[in-house]
Symmetry: C2
Subunit: 183 residues, 2 copies
Amino acid sequence: MSARVSVFIATSLDGFIARKDGSLDWLDAANETVPPGEDCGYREFMQSVDALVMGRNTFEKVLSFGDWPYGDTAVTVLSRNPISFPDSLPSTVKHSSEDPQTLCKRLSNEGVKHIYVDGGITIQRFLAVGLVDDILITVIPVLLGEGIPLFSPLAQDIPLKHTGTKTFDFGFVQLQYDVNRNA
Amino acid sequence: MSARVSVFIATSLDGFIARKDGSLDWLDAANETVPPGEDCGYREFMQSVDALVMGRNTFEKVLSFGDWPYGDTAVTVLSRNPISFPDSLPSTVKHSSEDPQTLCKRLSNEGVKHIYVDGGITIQRFLAVGLVDDILITVIPVLLGEGIPLFSPLAQDIPLKHTGTKTFDFGFVQLQYDVNRNA
């Protein structure tokens, strides 16, 4: 059976996941308004995830934060070129140059049930080939004007099914959609 | 006192108000899923509006629908160039080449309390000069990939205050924000 593929990401109201230079200062500032202990469902989501897939840009961003935040969750870093991982990283972090279909098929065959796809380009690649099952966007109450967009041009419209919305007192809104894989 | 300026608009989840050619087929299709009698707050909003401001593109789009939908609500069509209005339009429809500040000031002096600004470029022009007070976006559950965006580059971030979210059984979500004019 094919693993479920989820997107869980924050954007500005105008749809950016980072500034043009990758900066998340606006998101860090917003997160400072979040009460201690509130993680907007992230921990619960991560507990449901068997495998995380991200692109090289996101990987390098995560590395820049210092401590590796994903414990020994299986992480696949997609990149056409080889990556030399720091020794400090757990052995569960692996490089792959597979395309999304091949990777999903392999992970599913290895018993993975739930894949978390992260990073703009990687999410866009998975969406483009109909491999995303659900999307949760945490909308941060700010307009950035420009930056790295979550979405990109598509060969055709992708219809969505709204499955829920959650609002937080500090102004975040989580929009949740299922994607019809066969649309 | 300065009139309150509101945005009330629908976008795809990826932030487009129309396809590149201005087409709203995706929105028309979505509206067919809306139960009869449900207008997602539009009528109530329009009843609170004294004056509508739109750009030439939006004006021509509205004209193409056939019947003029705004009754005798005061409508200002912004355009650098003169516009010759069809005789069928009410005399409450007027052309102006004023910039947003001048127009808002004049309308406020004329007793207008609540301005509805419509159309991508016009909304962007008002946002850019800090003249928008609140934004209501009806998010339609579809990804278009490309089109005419609601938002555009800004000189600086615009912080927002989330004031409410409403979800509809047919999958629309309305996000509502106040804009701090002096941010």
